[in-house]
């Protein structure tokens, strides 16, 4: 473990781990007390969840036709959220990059990104639902805002990694500020923008399901409603659709990302 050498095998080497392990055990025990975590309850709970899962089968096959339109809604909310989110985050990324933006703007933007990252999308959606009412509008806007925290930071970091020589070369040719940003800053980071956006899309599909249950609509709402109405077979159908959606988007985004990475490397 350390640089010291031990002549023979000796249990004393584990002595430094004793106190941390005891401290950890006490912390875990205390946290379990606060959460009401109990191993016996876990056992009976797991048995109950298996019984519950058993009740869900077989899925309600007749529900699939009415679940198609919510599923499309879920996808569309995620697509729009990712699209607008990427565009807005690009602005934030530019404003937060040290080689593009002035210092005060950078500070301000980084602060905003940090605050946004601390807010889960679902909380943003709660506020949007309070302001605009239920519906996909809140879902799209909250996903858009949710992108800023993650993508804004990633874009800013990608932009900061650009070789300053290429920006200087474009400046030396007499390009205006906008031309420098377009040719020197945006062009080199396009592959990483696309691959980050695809990654975010993968997350957004999952989030869009969760947000649906709070009021954005889509397959998440169907899932939540089916569970609340104890219509578990219908819930199972919605679950299957969700799994298929998540699985397909994951594969698709992975495939597209590997393609973008390859083409980006070629150029």
């Amino acid at each position: 473990m350390t640089g010291q050498t031990y002549p023979t095998y000796n249990l004393k080497r584990y002595r430094k781990w004793v106190l941390p392990v005891i401290a950890l055990a006490i912390a875990v025990e205390g946290a379990a007390l606060v959460c009401g975590a109990d191993i016996r309850e876990l056992n009976s709970g797991l048995i109950r969840s298996f019984i519950f899962l058993g009740q869900m089968f077989p899925p309600d096959w007749s529900a699939f036709p009415d679940l198609v339109s919510p599923a499309v809604d879920t996808i569309v909310i995620a697509v729009l959220g990712t699209f607008f989110g990427t565009i807005i985050s690009l602005g934030f990324g530019l404003a937060a990059a040290s080689n593009v933006a002035p210092r005060w703007l950078r500070r301000l933007t980084r602060g905003f990104i940090r605050i946004e990252r601390a807010l889960p999308e679902i909380v943003i959606l709660l506020f949007l639902v309070a302001a605009f009412g239920l519906g996909p509008f809140g879902g799209v806007v909250s996903l858009t805002i949710g992108c800023i925290g993650m993508l804004g930071k990633l874009f800013a970091d990608a932009i900061e990694e650009i070789d300053p020589v290429s920006i200087e070369a474009i400046e030396a040719l007499g390009a205006s500020k906008i031309q420098v940003i377009y040719y020197g800053v945006l062009q080199p980071v396009i592959p990483s923008i696309i691959s980050f956006a695809l990654f975010r899309f993968e997350l957004n599909i999952r989030l869009s399901v969760v947000l649906g249950a709070v009021g954005a609509g889509g397959v998440g709402l169907e899932l939540y409603r089916a569970f609340s109405l104890l219509d578990y077979n219908r819930g199972c159908s919605a679950l299957i659709i969700t799994l298929v959606l998540v699985f397909i988007t994951e594969r698709l985004s992975e495939y597209l990302r590997s393609k973008v990475r390859m083409e980006g490397a070629l150029k």
Partner: protein, 271 residues
């Protein structure tokens, strides 16, 4: 491999760009119309936001003094995230050894574990929390179990990749002097991945803090539940106070975990 666009004429390039952009624009507008989503609504209906802000300001920080169980909710959220990370991380750690090709010789077990991990990752946390709430009842325990589940899914795969990407040379060397498979793990693999394991645990605590908030809304207890209740009974001033507190809490946790992570990883590179 396709020729890069460097060799095409500028006019062709612009035409291609124009086609792509107009296609994207048409698609976006079409989707917006399908969904009934009007981005301008954010501006035309902005008075709703102003109304809401008027209802929320100033945040009612008094509630932290008058309402004792808010503190309990905060503690519950932190404990949920902590336990989810510890238990989920430990289980993921063990499963990763069963799923990595250089520690698990049996192909069948590897595939089964991998399949379970990817299934855990694909099932949305919404479903998990709904199932646990039905099976165990409302409260932080259900939220904690959900966090354990999601942590196993994400970090099991991550740890598997970390183990598989290790250099084979140290393990080979130890194996060559007659160590058993367990000894190889103990003396070659464990010391190599331990720092990144700790760093990832800290990172996952960070993620779980946020997830714990969302779990609360679906009945997982903790601060998310308080927030949801405050919004539902239209006590926006309380809700804003909770939000402010959460932002501060999560930012502090993030800074702390970043700092510790750098320390752990820095100590590892020194060795």
């Amino acid at each position: 491999m396709k020729q890069p666009s460097l060799y095409t004429l500028p006019s062709t390039r612009y035409k291609r760009k124009a086609t792509v952009f107009s296609l994207i624009a048409i698609l976006t507008v079409g989707i917006c119309i399908y969904l009934g989503f009007d981005p301008l609504m954010l501006f035309t209906e902005f008075h709703y936001v102003v109304d809401l802000a008027g209802n929320m300001l100033p945040p009612n920080f008094e509630m932290f003094r008058s309402n004792g169980h808010v503190w309990r909710a905060i503690l519950e959220t932190i404990c949920m995230a902590f336990l989810g990370t510890i238990y989920g991380g430990s289980i993921a750690f063990v499963l990763a050894f069963l799923a990595a090709s250089n520690t698990m010789p049996a192909w069948a077990i590897r595939q089964v574990v991998r399949f379970c991990l990817s299934l855990m990752r694909v099932i949305p946390s919404l479903v998990i929390i709904l199932v646990f709430v039905v099976a165990i009842g409302l409260g932080p325990f259900a939220g904690m179990l959900t966090l354990v589940w999601t942590t196993i899914g994400t970090f099991g795969q991550l740890f598997t990749q970390i183990i598989e990407n290790l250099e084979p040379a140290p393990s080979d060397a130890i194996y060559a002097i007659g160590a058993s498979r367990v000894q190889v793990i103990r003396y070659s693999i464990l010391p190599q991945i331990f720092p990144s394991f700790i760093a990832n645990l800290l990172y996952s605590f960070d993620i779980n803090m946020r997830a714990a908030l969302a779990m609360g809304i679906f009945g997982g207890g903790g601060i998310g539940f308080e927030l949801y209740m405050a919004m539902r009974v239209l006590r926006y001033k309380d809700a804003l106070a909770l939000i402010c507190f959460t932002i501060v809490l999560i930012t502090i946790m993030e800074k702390l975990s970043d700092h510790l992570r750098k320390k752990v990883l820095g100590a590892a590179t020194l060795k």
